[in-house]
Symmetry: C2
């Protein structure tokens, strides 16, 4: 069966079945935001990689090379954040170039990466440059210390736990729509789309504060909550009224004729942390991060969205899939 | 200036000038076969990444998906070997797929990677799958313990040191030519091209035995020796008669009407280790690895090839460059 028929998640399932179980230093393998391995002296490291392909993941018509570099590193740091990282990290950058790019563009992209790295204690350690006649691509990997010696995972949610989320949701999606309509890059939502803020401090505080499961919101709230539920073998319900939406998002949505709540539920790339925690720890955690309680984990599978009366809202749209299929 | 005018090495120089100097845990940054960082508990790790693009780095007409996976991991392990690695390592695999690939092909590629990983104590820790409409690509990163707590680098060669090389040279290039002419994949040279042997044991033994500089031969002997000379600010001379060429390489070269010595000097992808060592240690090192002394490091810049009488042989061909330029 072709990949395009099978779909991205089908392929990933096949690959995961081939890979061996964690052992010999590998504490957490494929299926989380990052792998976790243990060094010879007992130290834990998170290890993650992502690639961005021109025309698929970025569009140079409304993304500067600077923001492309910044964001490419930031989304990897976000994976580290969702594992509870927050110490020093190291990145390698593999560039696939057609050859007709200007050297100045690539330098600008590196400046963006360096700015992000300086802000979040990540050192650019090198990489590779290869020729890619079809499209420009950028593949970044990142290894970072897990300073608490523990980590958060998608599979640790238990029924009864509170679901929390940092920051506000939907801004990035609305920023992307704003930019596509020719809006300026200084808009709050546009900046959140172009220069996301990896929640490293919050991720580390979540480990210390006793959080259980975590994921960074890259595919959209419902989709990423679905990933936690699937890996944990649980379900979830969230209260629509508690989902945090910024004033700026409301304003941009209004201007574009879009529903800000739909952006918050489905829009990806906010890179906020979605966490679960036992009820007795959730209140303190919410204050410490800060984060907002938006629902609870339940035994019954599936993700439900509840309105003010506690009635389930019908949700039709699904998240984003790269190859189609499923 | 466009990348294609500037050339790969020109671009890499620009990028290196932007990157900061090693500090804060980063012991060795861009410019070597791998970066080296120090974990919070003092342990040293080598960290490297490479990408392979269809039509540029591999050709599925004479490369099976199995060997593609095996080789992609092996060449990263070879970078680890040239830093003196040889402990446990972890790899992340980023796949860029057009979508029209068969799932069975990708599984076969993973089987190749897993076979290589099992053979050389490397665990596949996960990765990412993205859509790449232009070409299939494969980007692997690898982090591995440097068990001796020291490492070899390209920049550590000093005048008077002996140059050593493991194994034999030219086999991989001749194997590639053999395969392109429709030769079978069971041929010794073809196997060396498709299933290279990363010299991890030898790399670690080289650190223990007091070797100074090292590189793995991916671009060809002369080109890679040139990299050592450039990074060390030295020159080198090698004796043509001492360059190790296998019987099988001579036979394949004869059959194809090619010069085996030219393949040994210029042909890339042998993934043997090229080392330098102080003269007083070189003999023991040569026996321990084993490796063959083929020349010496000198102050005068440039790389010279000497014939049996010690006269310099004119060398015209240069190595391989991805974008043209320079």
């Amino acid at each position: 069966m072709k990949i395009s028929e099978r779909g991205e998640f089908g392929l990933i399932r096949s690959i995961r079945m081939l890979l061996e179980r964690p052992e010999e230093g590998l504490v957490c393998g494929a299926g989380d935001d990052a792998a976790v391995f243990r060094g010879g002296r007992g130290e834990l490291f998170a290890y993650t990689a992502d690639a961005l392909v021109e025309g698929v993941h970025f569009d140079l018509r409304y993304t500067s090379w600077h923001s492309l570099g910044y964001k490419a590193l930031a989304v990897n740091l976000s994976d580290l954040a969702s594992m509870g990282g927050g110490g020093l990290s190291y990145a390698l950058v593999v560039l696939g170039l057609r050859g007709d790019e200007e050297t100045a563009w690539i330098e600008e992209m590196y400046r963006g990466m360096l700015e992000c790295g300086r802000r979040y204690s990540c050192r650019l350690a090198g990489g590779d440059v290869v020729r890619s006649p079809g499209e420009t691509f950028l593949s970044i990997s990142l290894v970072g210390v897990l300073p608490e010696g523990r980590f958060l995972s998608r599979g640790a949610a238990l029924p009864g736990q509170v679901i929390l989320v940092t920051g506000t949701l939907g801004d990035s999606y609305l920023g992307m729509r704003w930019l596509k309509q020719g809006g300026d890059a200084d808009n709050h939502c546009a900046r959140r789309h172009l220069y996301p803020h990896p929640r490293l401090r919050e991720g580390r505080a979540a480990v210390r504060g006793g959080a259980a499961a975590a994921i960074d919101i890259s595919d959209g709230l419902l989709r990423d909550l679905g990933h936690i539920c699937e890996e944990s073998g649980v379900g979830a319900e969230i209260r629509m009224a508690d989902i945090p939406v910024s004033e700026e998002a409301r304003r941009v949505a209004h201007g574009l004729g879009l529903d800000p709540m739909e952006a918050a539920l489905h829009g990806g790339e906010d890179y906020e942390l979605l966490l679960t925690a036992p009820p007795e720890l959730a209140h303190r955690l919410a204050g410490a991060l800060p984060a907002k309680p938006i629902g609870r984990i339940r035994e019954e599978p599936g993700v439900s969205v509840l309105d003010l009366e506690g009635a389930e809202v019908a949700i039709t749209r699904t998240g984003y899939e790269h190859f189609g299929g499923e």
